[in-house]
Subunit: 189 residues, 2 copies
DNA sequence: GTCTATAAAGCGATAGAC
DNA sequence: GTCTATCGCTTTATAGAC
């Protein structure tokens, strides 16, 4: 049965793409209307606090996706190396192999960060923390695990910037391969 | 003698900071007026094409700074390793040790990139190309030099994203130390 | 060269009909 | 729940006084 009544979850993917492409300030309600297919009335019915609430919902959705598809596997994989490999696969999928930017990264760079400080902060904090724990379990010493986790998460963000700047998704996929190599503990043994 | 007549060069630093903090879409003329201390009339006198021309001027200025302070030393240092060390010093200084984001990176992530595609593209293309050449001269094989250059430039961008997201400049300075280590050819010999 | 005043358009948000 | 009409404000940009 086809549901015609819009729920928040139905429009979040379109909202997310709009914010990704235009940033928070650049994502006008008319653009959002166009992308979601909903008029302003409907949007304000679903999100009474307007753009701010839409962005919060999108950030929530992203956090949920990463929790389920990246953090949980990293935490609970019996083989930590398998969890890490799973992370790279999920990340390549999520960022459409370099053709899609990171919404949280986009928000982080300009003053949008101040509006969503805790969401932006905890996205990267959780990612580096959980990845560092997995690296440690896979054999890295505490310090190297933490440093490598930071390098990997930063490397992913930077590769997304470069791929989009150069309009070449290959920059991203190549960087991901090299970052994944660095997570193999036996690399230089 | 104090010059009172404003020239473009006088306002570019203030323009740059405004674009860095708010992004292109978020940098309103009223904010620019506040930061530069110039009224709209003066701004349009200096930049007849408005915001677009201001951003172009800022991108030009950034490109000039990197050419003089990063690319030229990388190309012309007799000792390539010294040129690379010089690059890291200059970069830490330019990005205020992680407290300042990359304007070009900010532009690259959203649809602002499309307005300034060639400027954004050539900033990163020049950087990776010149750095790869220096790495090669310092002893890396062609392929490793190119890959390391891409990793370093992406790593810098990503570290800026993380440092700002976490509101912790230390993330940037630590990442820079590790990236610099990776540019030493003898690291794993 | 700098300013104020103003224009025209777009913005986020609200009200109310259906 | 969805829409249209509208409000009040801000936006970029221009005109013209000084």
């Amino acid at each position: 049965m086809v549901r015609k009544i819009a729920e928040r979850g139905d429009v979040i993917p379109a909202l997310a793409e709009t914010f990704r492409e235009h940033g928070f300030a650049g994502a006008s309600l008319s653009e959002i209307t166009k992308r979601t297919g909903l008029g302003k009335g409907s949007l304000y019915h679903l999100f009474p606090n307007g753009k701010e609430e839409m962005a919060k919902a999108v950030l929530d959705d992203v956090a949920g996706w990463f929790e389920a598809n990246v953090f949980m596997p990293l935490r609970e994989s019996e083989d930590p190396a398998a969890g890490i490999d799973h992370m790279f696969k999920a990340v390549v999928r999520f960022f459409h192999a370099g053709r899609r930017v990171c919404l949280v990264g986009t928000f982080a760079l300009d003053d949008t960060r101040d509006r969503f400080a805790s969401e932006v902060q905890s996205y990267f904090a959780a990612w580096t923390r959980v990845l560092a724990a997995a690296l440690k379990r896979s054999g890295f010493d505490t310090r190297t695990a933490r440093e490598t986790a930071e390098d990997v998460v930063a490397g992913i963000q930077g590769a997304l910037v470069l791929a989009r700047a150069q309009d070449d998704p290959g920059v991203f996929t190549r960087a991901m391969k090299r970052l994944q190599q660095r997570t193999r503990v036996s690399h230089y043994d």
